[in-house]
Symmetry: C2
Subunit: 324 residues, 2 copies
């Protein structure tokens, strides 16, 4: 067993020690730029923690750890084009720094590189690893498609929102753990429990993201905040507020979420006032807590000594208290 | 051994009998649209021919055949955004029919689906198949990046152009054959010869494409023609014409290739006049013939009865005489 700090250090090292540069530079420099922006490296850390949980050889989990981080960053390159997000981790996004075509093509290359990394794994693990990563990619795309659809719909249900964030965020955390567990030869049952643990912390993570987008600031969060409200994103905050709102509050919400042409500050102020009057921050935190508890129940079911699970328990609890 | 017509029929059937639809529709309908546009299905046919060449079980090559066709169509979705191509196979391209974000995201999903298809192959073949397909994807992206770079450069050499079309076109044809050969348990040496055969017919194929873009029309070709000249593409025709041009002709070429703001018809007429005066069509056809001969030499070296190679020989020769 290694400490979470040791594993975190390994996760950072293996991502940052990779050479992403090659020819042509127009294709690979944006990849190097994207991969060197830091970030929490949560997904490779999860892959390594999963391997460590089942006493696997960390070396064997490394290709998976690198693969899932490259894959995650590929989805960011393309999502940032689609969402027109100018800033990520406090820096210009790839499509802003270069251009859209570059972000498309460098993103595609990252996707292929991610899968190619898996080929460095043990031969007998490769089919399951490739299947896990490609299925996860498809589900992330489905989540992004639902997310974009929801911007245009006025009848999104909370359960649909939870499904969307499961696909868009949960699946990649669950899959990071699954990849690590596969390389450690864990049983199918344990892999499934661990995957569900990841799904549930992913949902909690995204709810936290929604809260931070609403009640944080650029400096702390590293991203422009208030974008969910500006872009009419049907987050849990919005959907739940519609359920709880008075007739007047509902009218204000529907009014402001009918267009993206409002003054951003005015709209944000009006919507946040309602969210706060309805105690939405606390309600969202309670829901986060519920998914956190579900995650810990999944972890509980894994058939190994509970002391070995400390890293993942601590990780899940730490995620509840992040501010970026 | 099956006839090329039988294999062609199987190739068409396996692509057209797939169900590409799923939820959300916004993600999958564009995939269904892209995959049902017909097209020559050359890549799946090559995968099946390669399997047949080595007396493989065609069933085992089918996942690879489907995978490479989906992958090819994914690259078209993204290339058409980058190249702003409005029409393909006589129909609006995906980004024109839907929008850019849809073409990005549906393309990404197709890429993942392509790799996922390979998982249906024999377990012991999966690592080599996945490696082949992902390496090919990376090289296709590199080719596209060089292609876009060349539009801005004035010092492109013919050998650089050949490298670019090798990456952008040759690699996928070579890889289609390689995938099929892997599923038929061909020897590494034979796989390499067959791959080189594919690379060389790919180069010949692209040279033919350049000729057709210049001297064909929308109705026959299924694509808008004259786009290479309009977009300042540094094709073989252009690069070779610069080598052969008189001082005056060179000035005209450089003038017209210095901007994309000229009247399309006027520019096309002026450039084509020079190409024709310099006999470029014949020179390009000779080069095509050279690569066709190289391809046939590669085929020759494969250690099996030459009668079995008839399908591929005929295929290579037929490619030389296509008009779309």
């Amino acid at each position: 067993m290694q400490t979470i700090e040791e594993l975190q250090e390994i996760a950072i090292q293996i991502i940052e020690n990779q050479n992403y540069l090659s020819e042509p530079k127009s294709l690979y420099e944006p990849i190097e730029y994207a991969m060197s922006q830091g970030g929490k490296r949560i997904r490779p850390l999860l892959a390594l923690m999963a391997s460590d949980l089942f006493c696997g050889d960390i070396e064997k989990a490394k290709p998976s750890a690198i693969a899932i981080e490259i894959l995650h960053n590929f989805t960011l390159l393309h999502d940032d084009i689609m969402d027109e997000s100018p800033i990520r981790r406090g820096m210009p996004t790839v499509y802003k720094k270069y251009n859209k075509n570059t972000a498309i093509l460098s993103g595609d290359t990252m996707f292929a590189k991610a899968i190619l990394f898996l080929i460095k794994s043990d031969k007998n693990h490769i089919p399951a690893l490739v299947e896990t990563l490609t299925k996860a990619s498809i589900e992330v795309c489905e989540g992004q498609a639902y997310d974009m659809d929801f911007e245009k719909r006025n009848d999104v249900k909370i359960e649909e929102y939870i499904k969307m964030i499961t696909l868009k965020t949960g699946v990649l955390l669950g899959s990071a753990l699954k990849l690590g567990a596969i390389t450690a030869n864990a049983s199918q049952k344990d892999i499934d429990y661990l995957y569900d643990f990841g799904i549930n912390i992913g949902i909690a993570f995204q709810l936290q993201d929604d809260i931070l987008d609403c009640w944080s600031n650029l400096e702390d969060f590293g991203k422009v905040t208030g974008t969910d409200i500006a872009d009419n994103k049907k987050t849990f905050l919005y959907l739940k507020s519609l359920e709880l709102a008075s007739k007047e509050q509902k009218e204000v919400l529907l009014h402001y979420f009918s267009s993206t042409n409002f003054d951003k500050d005015e709209k944000e102020k009006a919507v946040k006032e309602i969210y706060e009057a309805l105690n939405l921050r606390l309600i969202a935190k309670d829901l986060m807590q519920k998914y956190n508890s579900l995650a810990l129940e999944n972890l509980e079911k894994i058939g190994i000594d509970s002391q070995k699970k400390t890293n993942l328990t601590n990780f899940a609890n730490k995620l509840m208290h992040r501010n970026k």
